[in-house]
Symmetry: C2
């Protein structure tokens, strides 16, 4: 614990003792893990049951966290804090009342949409973007009330801008990069990033190759340089990491993420029929053991130790502190 | 059975022996009944279980029907054929595969949206209407394939026009009236009605007061006159009845229809805080015993016996014949 805190605000690995040990080796203090892409309420409960079994099996490595205080305690105990989140609103089905139920079960992030139109907002792969729906406005209000963070990582432009505007509390884009660095439907426009920062929100920069300039060949220098540009433009306090690491997952998982149960044809999302599976990770971000190298690269980019601390996790921790409890 | 067939293509009564006896008294041969507004898959299964208990309890009055042949057989047996339909897509949750499952269970109509944005299409009370979603296109294709009718009664303008265009089989608006007769968000524009008729679709005219010119005070003459205008404009073969009769329902039911589980505030739909409950039915359409009077009014309007037969049920029966079985 000589370094400042390290928080990764998005991972969806094939969870295993190996992955948890690598978190410890990489000095990763907290990870926001995805527990639902397209799952129903009941299916998501089953995913929590699986996490409960992992917490029981590896108590020296991981612990469930619901608050910033839980994250700090985990760090003291040299365990990795696990924070639950949804990448879609499917676990609340059509039921506003489930927001509070899920918060009680420890869920702290929910995307309002995942690629497609949802009951709440539009996903980044729809052709049209009507913004936040009638139910979406109700759900934002309820998430604000109970202390669940609105995550717009996979949502589209107008829906994201409206979520920022409608939400009374700062929102997050837990895993994406600036579109002006690497144009991709999943990356975010200057407008979105400006409004996000102006409203006190956070973005977690992603190492998922489809979000990186040059894809799998993106260099760490190019990445660190982009972080510098964004720090200058948005203010460093709004920036963090959300690696989108999908370590050890079979390609059937990326098929599930993209296709859920909504199509009979195959949707390739950010990939293509020629590159249907998970892309190759960049050499400098293979797994949780890559975080110290990232820290070093940010220092080499000219950020001072305090700034690197902010980028690597302090900003997320401050955001958790402000976001995970009920509205005053 | 001296009269031609009588079909009502939408009711949602508080089902009881009284209502079923009135169907027989009114000579109603078939009714499309709503079995879901906001229910999940499992909740809708429970609603089917309730219908199964009713079929067992009143075998001399009602019988489940899945085909035009079933409707004809019911008429021979002097029973009322009950056809299942959804006013929303909530029973398929986020799962395309449930379309076929529901068809197998006897569901023959599904609205792509109910008032709000759904995973498939937009409802008539949203401010924006982005049209049919990515999942919506898949579901339309699947409904076409298995033989489930796309119903756009509660959907918005662009979504309805796109559904007509995308669907390879004619669609239905089971219960609504022309907006040029009575402007209401739930009633349908000239464009929608023209495209519906051009594509071989059907509209069922509604007696729900909020859809009627003059509301509860609408006269039967005004109604019959509107039918004449629409017959001249669209072709009589596209017209039928979908009364939207919600007989004996407590006001808690209209609250459920409008508010489901999506809002903490109260949505009044077509009503208002001053008129929050079900509106008063027009004197000439109180219950299923009102159908003979309606038949008489259409004759008085100048339709001949064959035309009245078409309007009262033959058109729907022909549509059922073409729509309820798998695509060739």
């Amino acid at each position: 614990m000589t370094e400042s805190i390290t928080i990764d605000c998005l991972q969806y690995a094939a969870w295993s003792e190996k992955v948890f040990r690598q978190m410890r080796q990489g000095g990763v203090d907290a990870v926001h893990v995805t527990i639902a892409y397209h799952e129903t309420f009941r299916e998501t409960v089953a995913n929590i049951e699986e996490w409960n079994r992992r917490f029981s099996a590896y108590p020296e490595l991981i612990v469930h966290a619901c608050s910033a205080a839980d994250v700090r305690a985990a760090r003291e105990q040299e365990r990795t804090a696990i924070i639950f989140g949804f990448q879609n609103c499917s676990p609340i089905e059509d039921d506003l009342g489930l927001v509070q139920v899920w918060h009680r079960m420890g869920v702290r992030f929910m995307q309002l949409s995942y690629n497609n139109q949802s009951l709440l907002a539009t996903g980044c792969y729809e052709r049209e973007d009507p913004g936040i729906t009638r139910m979406g406005r109700q759900v934002i209000k309820e998430m604000n009330r109970v202390g669940m963070v609105i995550d717009m990582s996979h949502s589209s432009e107008r829906s994201t801008l409206e979520a920022i505007e409608i939400s009374e509390r700062p929102i997050a884009i837990t895993h994406a990069n600036p579109a002006n660095w690497h144009p991709a439907l999943r990356n975010k426009s200057d407008d979105v990033l400006r409004e996000l920062a102006n409203s006190g929100g956070m973005i977690g920069f992603s190492f998922y190759p489809h979000h990186l300039k040059g894809g799998s060949d993106c260099t760490l220098i190019s990445f660190a340089n982009m972080v510098r540009t964004m720090a200058d433009r948005l203010g460093i306090e709004h920036l963090g990491i959300g690696s989108d690491l999908c370590q050890d997952q079979p390609d059937s998982v990326v098929h599930w993420m993209r296709n859920g149960r909504w199509t009979q044809e195959t949707d390739y999302g950010e990939g293509s029929s020629k590159q249907a599976g998970f892309p190759e990770q960049p050499t400098w971000f293979q797994d949780n053991r890559s975080f110290p190298g990232l820290r070093q690269a940010l220092l080499s980019e000219g950020f001072d130790a305090r700034e690197v601390g902010q980028l690597m996790g302090e900003n997320w921790l401050r955001f958790f502190e402000a976001s995970f409890t009920a509205q005053a």
